[in-house]
Symmetry: C2
Subunit: 493 residues, 2 copies
């Protein structure tokens, strides 16, 4: 690759698909994750922080038959140096589950069993970035490894509901919907679906949300013409085979008892199906015992996302309030978290099947929901700015700021060139400062300070006449000793 | 590279030089960083979170004359795909200053100026790992960009002292020592040190801590024989040139005023030296105004670390209490933070010099100090464990755990195979559970619960006779409704 050999300045740019987070963007997300972590901790889950870098081998991201990692991960090969670099391929983790699998295998003799852990942090995807789609983003997971009982699933489902409420989503604004892959397996058995057809059936029922009952019936049988006029091939089931599948998808009743009854009918004589319905019945009873009413969690067989990946109970948390989409149309906010049971976590490493169940909260989605509800993005207020009228008296200004901070009030001294006072007020404005403190030589001699209410000042400037503005009602002169009290009073307005 | 073609299980291992952090290791560090962040925020600093990945170009880590990045960073080249991958070299950030430089240049028209920011997070070094030296570790920085005034340095120095105290280091257990590169420049001028000798002189005075005044005098002049008998060549100054340098290094007096007086003598007629002493005098006055006494911050010209890198004020925080080293010898804990002024931050990108000053706290060092002081590592206590006597009554046990959590008490239900009760108590022990809740069919029928104090139990087991042990004084039977109150009482013991 020929490169320009002239020395040139580097571009000051984030790499494509990466972004920076400033001030409140950082602290709001942190506050949300802190609240969720507290809920996880209260439930006996332990923090785990693995490093961002794993071997490609441990991530399971080697492509079959070639000695290169999957293109979806950021990977590089260490130099093989005798006594030094290993020649291993390393990669940035692409989720928090693969590192958990490695940890569960590596420390299997030391960790408590079952092992409840939560993890929060960035993951990296080497994918094409798009609007709102970044190549580094946060995940927030909680998993229980080594517990076969559906009590572990029920616990995580209840914990998810608690976490959403603690994060700020009001009861009634969310619903956790629970399904079970085993029930679907039972339905497939009852419908005499051949194993090689199962994946096709799953793909079609995944479209239930979009095309509805009639659409899925067509897709499962003879095929369907979509909105654009394109012919979509059907799976080729006959009508009697499609029926149990549709009965499964539409079996949600007015309460869990009715839903479970409908499901029992849908699975017919299938043993695995009956086991799946029993598990859902147990989960329903446990959720009930934990005080989780139907306003928070329901059994709902129309939850199909993740059914292909999970092996047992599967669940999804949806926010039920409406927002306006890009085109100004109302739509439900939708999914913010999901999870379920999976059993292949540790097997890759040890050969032993280890049951596991977990939840992942979509950090950016939930944060967007909190902003939508006015529960984040509100830390608009900056620090009190102590302006500098006499450069020689910087120590005095710093003493004022130190006093304010000692009183717990966020404060800073203007540190730019103090010559132009207008620039100082512009700076205070950019900092979203609520108050400016001003003391010139004259005020210092008289032992007083000007305290300027910038919020009130901005209001007056927008509305007042020139005379009103000149009278500066937003600025008060107070004795030097009264600064803290005056600032406190203004901040409380 | 020929590889074994037999399918084999992946190794469950962290890559060489990386490690995992479990439970309290994560939460203790987080608690410490939260406390420090609160101090930074109070001082008007804003959080900034950049991504872990930067272009090698922005990091300034291309090796000269070759199109390859420095071996010290983890780097990889993106595939060049038309309309897709850029072909850029990307790398993991190796510190938090290089990303700040990129941000300060990229957003120079939007950021407030001066821009105060703090950043906390992992950085990666592609270096040979050693004991306690990892290839991913945390940094915790605060910097002010765009402020030429030493008021910015004084503010950061005072903020560092506040941050250490807020983190838990008591006054008297730390000292921030302040020096100034300009004073050294003045001393070199006064000593008629040639520009080409300056780096050699710096290298020798860096050994002041180890070899003392006499040793540095030898190193600056004719050379020295070290402890192993090896001859070390001297810089070749004559005695009259070496004298101002030594006077500089030993000019610390009983108070700042005396030290400043000694420094004025050491810099002789050098203008830059006088400027440096003036700056230190201003900083001393400002620290005084902010209430930072000599028990917290002192002017100390023997601080030489970083003098080669920084361009103005430079400072270091040391912990002054003693610890035992690996060989059981007492030694001072030593440095936990440092910083100073540097002016080349943004220049690489824009061509404009932008003054900047900052501090970096050694996260692992400070955490080790807090552990040494018994101020971290104390979250030994696990959750209350509700044991499972009857698998059928899992919902009852979950209801008990939910009740405990609703009362703010960390609690979990045993989720393993409940058949062997001994395993449940072993699990509770591994979880460091303070209390176990036990309710069999008999207790359930009588409406009571056994509450077992595991901490007291362990004490008794270690000391008591068989009879005492059998009487189980650490276990009480209480009515079902009294569980919360009993647990609260036991936890308060």
């Amino acid at each position: 690759m020929a490169k320009d050999q002239k020395p040139r300045r580097p571009r000051a740019e984030t790499p494509k698909g990466f972004r920076d987070y400033f001030g409140p963007e950082v602290t709001e997300r942190k506050a949300m994750l802190d609240r969720i972590a507290a809920v996880y901790h209260l439930h006996g889950f332990e923090a785990l922080e693995t490093s961002g870098v794993e071997t490609v081998e441990a991530l399971g991201k080697f492509l079959p038959d070639v000695d290169r990692p999957n293109a979806g991960v950021f990977a590089w090969q260490e130099e093989a140096v005798p006594g030094g670099g290993s020649g291993d391929w390393l990669a940035l983790r692409y989720d928090l589950t693969a590192p958990l699998a490695r940890v569960a295998a590596q420390y299997r003799n030391d960790l408590p069993s079952p092992y409840r852990r939560y993890a929060m942090g960035p993951v990296w995807r080497n994918e094409k970035p798009g609007p709102g789609r970044y190549r580094q983003f946060y995940q927030c997971d909680a998993d229980t490894v080594g517990a076969a009982s559906v009590a572990a699933d029920a616990e995580i489902i209840a914990m998810l509901a608690d976490a959403l409420e603690t994060a700020g989503i009001a009861r009634g604004d969310y619903l956790v919907r629970v399904n079970n892959r085993k029930v679907l397996n039972g339905v497939l058995e009852a419908a005499r679906v051949q194993p090689e057809q199962a994946a096709d059936v799953l793909r079609q029922i995944d479209k239930f949300d979009k095309v509805g009952e009639a659409g899925v019936r067509e897709l499962l049988t003879t095929g369907r013409t979509d909105a654009s006029g394109a012919e979509i091939e059907g799976v080729g089931l006959d009508a009697s085979q499609a029926e149990p599948v549709l009965r499964f998808l539409t079996s949600k009743g007015d309460d869990n008892a009715t839903t479970l009854q409908n499901l029992r009918a849908a699975v017919g004589g299938s043993a695995v199906g009956a086991e799946g319905v029993d598990e859902l019945a147990q989960i329903a009873a446990m959720l009930d015992a934990m005080g989780m009413g139907a306003d928070r969690v329901v059994i709902d067989p129309s939850v199909v996302r993740g059914l292909g990946y999970y092996t047992g109970p599967v669940f999804e948390a949806e926010l039920t309030f409406e927002i306006l989409d890009d085109k100004g149309r109302k739509r439900q906010f939708g999914s913010v978290a999901g999870g379920g049971r999976y059993d292949d976590l540790v097997e890759r490493f040890t050969g032993q099947k280890v049951p596991a169940t977990g939840v992942s909260i979509g950090v950016d989605r939930l944060l967007a929901a909190l902003r939508e509800k006015g529960l984040a993005g509100t830390e608009a207020q900056g620090p009190v700015v102590v302006t500098v009228m006499d450069r020689d008296r910087m120590a005095d200004y710093q003493a004022m700021a130190a006093e304010l901070r000692a009183a717990g009030i966020r404060a800073e001294v203007y540190l730019g060139n103090p010559k132009n006072f207008g620039n100082q007020l512009k700076y205070a404005d950019k900092r979203a400062a609520p108050i400016a403190i001003i003391q010139g030589a004259d005020e210092a001699a008289r032992g007083v300070v000007q305290v300027k209410d910038l919020i009130l000042g901005a209001k007056i400037a927008a509305q007042a006449s020139v005379e009103e503005w000149k009278s500066q009602p937003a600025q008060v002169e107070v004795p030097r000793g009264a600064v803290i009290a005056t600032v406190r009073e203004m901040l409380a307005r």
